[in-house]
């Protein structure tokens, strides 16, 4: 039997950095979300350092902690919805029974060793007019079929307005807090007006996933209790 070809130094380095393969490059039509830029600028120690000068006291951030989101973690992923292309076009402003949408997130890039600390669903809706009493968002498990038939409802929450993104925490609802991240996530979403109003349209869905990979978290860097 032929022995497997040993990986080159570049592959070994990428594995040390927690990557299975060298990424191919920037995808077309995929911009960097502002939240990721914000998190990067806040985390980057070289933003406050030049040359060999030491980081001034008091400016160091807690290691393995995402300050802006207030959770433990050393990896933040912005995961786009894969279900958008398969969704049928919606009627412009149908009243009455509002449609449900199936969103799909590919989480296969997450290593089983990573421990999730936040899974924030971020949704942008477009609506012609807002009902006085707002909306209600429901998130349910979706089956494997392409149809939007919802399963068990995972969470419901009131949405007063749609001007800013609607956020919902999925950790503890879509999967248990102490469980590994699933390989993929299919959700059925519905946004119903709490009063007479036209239905809203789902413009964009994404998942902000924060995980902690203990292998990348240096034990000496952790603050002593």
């Amino acid at each position: 039997a032929r022995a497997p070809v040993p990986p080159g130094p570049a592959a070994a380095l990428l594995r040390a950095l927690g990557l299975r393969d060298a990424p191919q490059g920037a995808p077309t039509l995929r911009s960097v979300p502002p939240v990721m830029w914000r998190l990067f600028r806040r985390r980057d120690p070289q933003e406050t350092r030049s040359g060999l000068r030491r980081t001034p006291p008091g400016t160091t951030l807690r290691p393995c902690h995402v300050e802006e989101l207030g959770v433990a973690g050393n990896i933040v992923r912005h995961i786009p919805d894969r279900g958008a292309a398969a969704r049928p076009p919606e009627p412009a402003s149908a009243a009455g029974q509002c449609p449900a949408w199936t969103v799909v997130f590919d989480l296969s890039a997450v290593d089983p060793a990573e421990r999730p600390s936040r899974a924030r669903l971020e949704l942008r809706f477009a609506a012609a007019a807002a009902p006085a009493s707002g909306w209600e968002l429901s998130v349910a498990q979706a089956g494997e079929a392409a149809g939007p038939g919802p399963g068990a409802v995972l969470l419901r929450q009131a949405v007063p307005a749609l001007e800013s993104p609607v956020r919902a925490e999925l950790l503890g609802a879509a999967w248990a807090r102490n469980a590994s991240v699933p390989r993929s996530l299919r959700l059925a979403l519905a946004l119903r007006p709490r009063g007479p109003a036209a239905c809203a349209r789902l413009a964009e869905a994404s998942l902000l996933l924060v995980t902690l990979d203990p292998r990348l978290c240096h034990p000496l860097a952790r603050p002593r209790r």
Partner: protein
């Protein structure tokens, strides 16, 4: 892009020197969004006495390194001098696209040499 050592060799005391790692040079610029590179630095220099004792504010010298430098002073060639290596490192964050078109922010420990020492 590295700062050349004084005299073109290992001259000078052990200390951190400038080394800028450019992701374009490494060929990672197509998927690393930010930073474009970072100041990784490196350690170079002699670990003979008194450098092996480390200056004020520097990393504490290892007893073993001091004794080895002493031994080398008394009898050059016996075991050689201690090594000039990173003594304090700091992390960087990288923002990149992965193969699933996700935008990923990862925090990596021990990427920048802040301080060198004789070990």
């Amino acid at each position: 892009e590295a700062e050349p050592a004084a005299g073109g060799g290992l001259g000078g005391a052990c200390r951190a020197r400038r080394l800028y790692v450019s992701f374009r040079e490494v060929g990672w610029h197509r998927w690393v969004i930010a930073p474009r590179g970072f100041l990784a630095n490196y350690c170079q220099g002699q670990c003979a006495l008194p450098a092996a004792l480390s200056g004020p504010g520097g990393p504490p010298a290892l007893n073993h390194a001091v004794l080895r430098a002493l031994m080398h002073g008394a009898s050059p060639g016996a075991g050689g001098l201690p090594c000039c290596v990173p003594a304090r490192l700091s992390p960087i964050s990288m923002l990149f696209f992965d193969n699933s078109d996700n935008v990923v922010l990862r925090h990596y420990e021990d990427m920048v040499v802040d301080e060198c020492g004789c070990r």
